[in-house]
Symmetry: C2
Subunit: 229 residues, 2 copies
DNA sequence: GATAACTGGATAGCCCGTATCCGCTCGCCG
DNA sequence: CGGCGAGCGGATACGGGCTATCCAGTTATC
């Protein structure tokens, strides 16, 4: 509340000096990239380095880390809300639910930082916690799907939440290696949720890639020699 | 390799003084409890406090943290291997697979430390990394089940690994709140793996409990007022 | 009762994060 | 074109949490 902002961009002061504005952009871009790849636990030093500026410059523009996070992820959050909204407006609830899960995971899985923001223990990440906004969407979709009879009658909102957490946890470990890996597991999962027949399930990952993801995740060395370093 | 040990218990020196032996036991017990509840990232100070001794005493008995981890979790690892072995010996591979997944998760989900040891990036946790031992078991079970025609023909070993990671990740967040929560999600998942019909799926969790687990996991406040603190 | 094993917990040392500070640079406006 | 203040980098303060050490005091044991 110190200075009025619109989506993280100050509106009160007169425009920044040209170079400052350029740097500000660089910083936000760098933050987007770094947060996306390494999640929110990335340090501001790394971001500064990645942006080619000093940490001081970062703190000059953004009072604290949270502000930078907000500025960097803001857009993605909006995109996420748009997805929820689109899913909501879907004619049949099952497709809506699948759309929400899939498109949501497209976003979450390509951006670890977004995942951290929405699905991690964080107190009040943006001003009033955007993650609170999703619950009602999911709730109404699940209810409608139950009425339609397209999901098992016992499916709950929390089921969807848990599923989202679990699958995105996987996605987190395979972002850069097999960005679509989660699709298979999501499908296997939704197969279990669906009332009637079993939907299509994407084919297994390439064995080596899958092994590599697991290796990274659980440090369980694959068949290939440990070798270097 | 400094001093010969059997399962973490020294065998070379003459028996410890009575009080020392008593303390050693207390320490291992405390470590078991604390690791089980909070995972391996628990500090030795906490364990010492929990055991009613000083940190010094811990380090007198165990050269470093890893040794303590080994001594504390050793038994659980053996139990895990026993499960894998039993599953292996099952007549039909599907039951074996389900047994392995379920009983394995019984162990993993009741002991965060064990989960950390087996399913986390850790280099060489016990002497030669016990987690490497499981792969062959799973591999052979999956192969046999494929031949039996009880799993989808495209199911892979890595599928099972991923599933284990994902579900145990959930378990990690619900240990003390809904220790059996994972069963439902495991079932939903295996339903997707199974070739033919959909197996029984445990009923949803109590709504409030499920919400609480999610809240703890993703910090997403439930419907109930935030209230205190 | 002598002795050495044992004890507790203060503390050293490390790593890694956020955030601050200050002497210097350089874009902008008169 | 020149001077001034916004802007700059990055060394550094500060804090928290961890593993591991050390040593003066205690106590089981023979």
């Amino acid at each position: 509340m110190t200075s009025p902002t619109v989506r993280g961009t100050p509106v009160d002061a007169r425009p920044l000096r040209a170079d400052a504005e350029r740097n500000r952009r660089r910083i936000v871009d760098a933050a987007r990239e770094v947060f996306a790849r390494h999640g929110l636990e990335a340090g501001l030093n790394e971001i500064a380095r990645h942006a080619g500026v000093g940490v001081g410059t970062v703190y000059r523009r953004f009072p604290d880390k949270d502000s930078l996070v907000a500025a960097a992820l803001d857009e993605e959050v909006a995109r996420m809300l748009a997805v929820a909204d689109a899913a909501q407006r879907s004619d049949d609830a099952w497709s809506g639910l699948v759309l929400l899960l899939e498109e949501g995971l497209v976003l979450l899985s390509s951006n670890v930082g977004l995942r951290d923001l929405l699905l991690s223990q964080r107190t009040d990440p943006l001003d009033d916690g955007p993650e609170h906004l999703f619950l009602p969407y999911v709730e109404s979709l699940v209810d409608r799907a139950r009425v339609e009879g397209t999901v098992r009658p016992d499916v709950t909102v929390q089921d969807v939440g848990m599923l989202w957490c679990m699958v995105s946890e996987l996605a987190r470990h395979s972002v850069d290696l097999a960005p679509d890996a989660w699709r298979r597991y999501l499908a296997l999962f939704t197969a279990g949720l669906r009332a009637g027949a079993v939907p299509d399930v994407p084919p297994p990952l390439d064995e080596e890639v899958a092994q590599e993801v697991l290796t990274r995740w659980i440090g369980l060395g694959g068949t290939r020699a440990p070798g270097a370093s």
